[in-house]
């Protein structure tokens, strides 16, 4: 296997994740294989509890797979690291740090000189439109603004992979749409490998190059769908015939899967 000169190739091989539950061992992810080449925007789509967040946590290095392995640029992932930036569902900003200090943390830890830290911080505050709020503390910001800081903070580290776990899930519909568009704008500029977990079909298709559909627990890949919509992607793309076709395909696959899961539950209960 040969990797290009660009970084950010993610590889999951036969990954199984088990948790110790109250009723014994629960298998969250079942023998998952996934290969994401550098620069691809991949949406991981599935119902809640399908193990898609678990998958992301494995790549982030927060949890170790029970079997199999996760690799970044042929290096085995064993712990969290700055080359894999994570944006959580909740903004998880440091409440005692201002917007500027939150964004500056990564560059500072990377050992950049003070002037360079300042330059990078300023750049990413501008990118997410928060320069005027540089000295505000997270409590004073709206949910959408906090999440923008969360994204800027991660980007400021120049990671080779971005991992986003339903980052817009807690936002209201309007803010959510604006955030999706601004994420696209930012991503289309630097094209980092991006793994984006969501349960929203439209969000997945609107953003990604590729949609990975996961089954209900234990999570397996049930479909790997290429999204060949134009880039840069305009907001109006959601009205295109191709978008609607993809949406229909995803919905039907999820529906079949949900019914199967539901019947299995009924069966188990009976």
């Amino acid at each position: 296997m040969s990797y290009g000169s660009r970084k950010g190739n993610v590889e999951l091989r036969e990954v199984v994740v088990e948790f110790d539950g109250r009723t014994g061992t629960v298998r969250a992810v079942e023998q998952l294989n996934l290969s994401v080449p550098s620069g691809q925007f991949v949406a991981v789509l599935g119902p809640s509890g399908c193990g898609k967040s678990t998958l992301l946590n494995v790549v982030a290095g927060f949890i170790a797979p029970t079997f199999g392995e996760a690799l970044l640029d042929a290096q085995r992932i064993v712990k969290p690291g700055a080359e894999r930036g994570v944006v959580f569902q909740q903004p998880t900003l440091f409440p005692w740090k201002s917007v500027r200090e939150n964004i500056a943390l990564g560059p500072r830890m990377a050992g950049l000189r003070a002037a360079e830290v300042e330059r990078v911080t300023r750049h990413f505050m501008e990118l997410v439109g928060l320069t005027l709020f540089a000295d505000q503390y997270p409590d004073a910001l709206s949910g959408g603004m906090q999440q923008r800081v969360g994204i800027a903070r991660t980007l400021a580290n120049n990671p080779s992979v971005l991992l986003m776990d339903e980052p817009f899930g807690a936002l209201d519909a309007q803010t959510r749409e604006l955030m999706q568009e601004s994420l696209l704008r930012i991503w289309e500029k630097n094209r980092t490998t991006l793994l984006f977990v969501t349960h929203d079909i439209e969000e997945a298709i609107f953003l990604a190059d590729r949609v990975i559909l996961m089954s209900a627990r234990p999570g397996r890949v049930i479909a790997d769908i290429a999204v060949n919509l134009i880039r840069p992607r305009p907001a109006s793309v959601v009205d295109s015939a191709e978008f609607l076709r993809l949406k229909k395909t995803c919905r039907e696959l999820i529906r079949t899967e949900s019914i199967k899961a539901f019947e299995e539950q009924e069966h188990a209960a009976a």
């Binding site: 969290p80 930036g85 909740q90 998880t92 440091f94 943390l105 903070r153 991660t154 580290n157």
Partner: protein
């Protein structure tokens, strides 16, 4: 019929409302008055009872006697010396106890080995009231300043140990994950996340233990000292200087309240996000 009914109601309603407003205003004035009269009223009553001849004025001196006694202590310098000794003891014991408590709290909350090694012993010692170990401190340190520092530090230590421990344990685990993903190395985690994350709890512990420090101070000075404000309370008791004793008690309360107030202000500025 219907309209007459409505008119009658309209005629009644405003009058009722006015009456309610007036009575609530009087109520408010009354409540305020009670608030402002509380302390002067108490002092006046005390003065009247003490000077009436119904009680022994040496055992129950009037507020004016207390003021005289304290003014005298101020003039001859003994009050300043007493306050100086007491405040020094509280500051020294408090600083040592708080520093050790915070460090121990951070270590036991972060490292399982240290937790297992220290916590069972500390949990066994913690419920013992500081006052109860006074005799032991005298055996170990004699009537030295070290004994007083130790006793005050002892009480403060446990409050801060528990407060810091809880503070660290209640940090949102996602904040730690976020920090790891941003490249914060383990050895910098304490400074960047753990300590500031626990700070709201530590601040509460610091404030609570001010009171504990003063309790311990009283125990230490009553047990054996040669100066100090609680020592003065004890000695004036032996000399039947009841006025000086009451005056010293009030000074002690005043210092303790001032320390608490100052701490509250500092805590609010340090833990501004909470």
């Amino acid at each position: 019929m219907a309209s007459a009914h409505t008119n009658a109601e309209e005629g009644v309603l405003p009058a009722t409302r006015t009456a309610t407003l007036t009575s609530s205003r009087w109520k408010e004035v009354g409540l305020r008055l009670a608030l402002y009269l509380s302390l002067p009223g108490f002092l006046l009553l005390w003065q009247l009872v003490s000077t009436s001849g119904a009680v022994n004025r040496i055992l129950t001196p009037a507020p004016t006697d207390v003021v005289t006694a304290i003014t005298r202590a101020m003039r001859d310098g003994t009050l300043l010396v007493d306050v100086g000794w007491s405040v020094t003891r509280v500051i020294a014991g408090y600083a040592v106890g708080a520093a050790l408590g915070i460090v121990t709290g951070l270590l036991t909350a972060r490292f399982k080995l240290i937790d297992n090694l220290l916590s069972p012993t500390l949990q066994t010692l913690r419920p013992i009231p500081p006052i109860a170990i006074v005799p032991l401190t005298i055996i170990w340190f004699g009537l030295t300043e070290g004994a007083k520092y130790f006793l005050i530090a002892w009480g403060v230590f446990f409050v801060l140990w528990i407060a810091t421990y809880m503070g660290v344990r209640r940090i949102n685990p996602l904040l730690i994950r976020a920090a790891q993903s941003l490249g914060v190395p383990e050895k910098k985690m304490l400074r960047e996340v753990i300590f500031p994350g626990a700070l709201p709890y530590i601040a509460v512990g610091l404030r609570t233990s001010v009171t504990i420090a003063f309790y311990s101070l009283v125990a230490a000075e009553v047990a054996g000292a040669f100066a100090g404000i609680a020592y003065r309370v004890n000695v004036s008791h032996q000399n039947m200087q009841t006025s000086l004793m009451i005056g010293s008690l009030l000074v002690l309360g005043l210092i303790s309240a001032a320390a608490d107030y100052a701490f509250n202000i500092v805590a609010r500025r340090v833990v501004f996000w909470h």
